[in-house]
């Protein structure tokens, strides 16, 4: 049954992606991107990647719609008309796409138990993380304890980015106050 759902959802995603790329109204395109994020979140849930689906819905459908609308309110709602002669762009896109598809040929099949990712440390996490960390959720104990320094680094990067944005915005506001 989930295979049929997969196929229907992927067809909807393709239809939506083609429609978005042909839209000239950026406001409509921003809203359609929200639907696209919901569809990909469902696909992630079907693939059992619930945490990824969570992030996709929060960031893709929630925050980036708001951010795109904020950008549109500062700029314009209509797309600039592109020049007709796009043969070079089409060539670049085709080469990049075929390179990406070629890259996926070497990847193990979905759910393959012999995939490298299941051979390394996953068994230990599954068997031991409960007694070693005392946390029932394996993903949480990996993120917060086994890879604690990694997570600390990520949080530092995000914090730095946030401080940078706040400093930039504060600079603009201060200049407006002086004038």
């Amino acid at each position: 049954m989930t295979e049929i759902a997969d196929i229907v959802l992927l067809i909807l995603m393709i239809v939506l992606a083609v429609a978005i790329s042909r839209m000239h109204n950026l406001f409509m395109a921003a809203m359609m991107m929200g639907i696209f994020s919901f569809l990909s979140a469902i696909i992630f849930t079907l693939l059992d990647a619930v945490d990824v689906a969570f992030t996709e819905a929060a960031v893709g459908a929630g925050v980036s719609t708001v951010l795109l609308l904020g950008t549109l309110s500062l700029t314009t709602r209509e797309e600039k008309v592109a020049p007709k002669n796009n043969a070079l762009a089409l060539l670049v896109v085709l080469i990049t796409g075929s390179a990406l598809i070629y890259g996926t040929l070497d990847m193990p099949m979905f759910g393959d138990p012999n995939a490298p990712v299941h051979q390394h440390v996953a068994d230990r996490y599954i068997e031991k993380s409960g007694e070693e960390m005392g946390i029932p959720n394996i993903v949480t104990s990996v993120l917060a304890s086994y890879r604690g320094y990694d997570t600390l680094g990520e949080v530092t990067v995000i914090f730095t980015a946030g401080v940078g944005v706040i400093l930039l915005l504060g600079y603009i506001w201060r200049k407006e106050d002086e004038q």
Partner: protein, 89 residues
Amino acid sequence: MFIAAMIGILVTMALALCRALLGPTVYDRILSVNMFGTKTVLFIAVLEFLTGRPDFLDLALIYVLINFIGTLAVLKFVRYNDLGAEPEE
């Protein structure tokens, strides 16, 4: 039973998508995007009961909240063309 519900939700999703792409006015599209979010929540809930693991229902609840915030932002943008606008008296 759950499979029938799932098929029904998928058909509704396709119809909502048609309305979002064809919809003559902005409000048709806003309503269809909002409805699509609701269908996502329903689909995830049905999927979880179908696979026998209703542990992730809180995920569906978070989706409802996100969808609400997104709809608020879209409506504010349509009404005032500015997300930071003060509401009218």
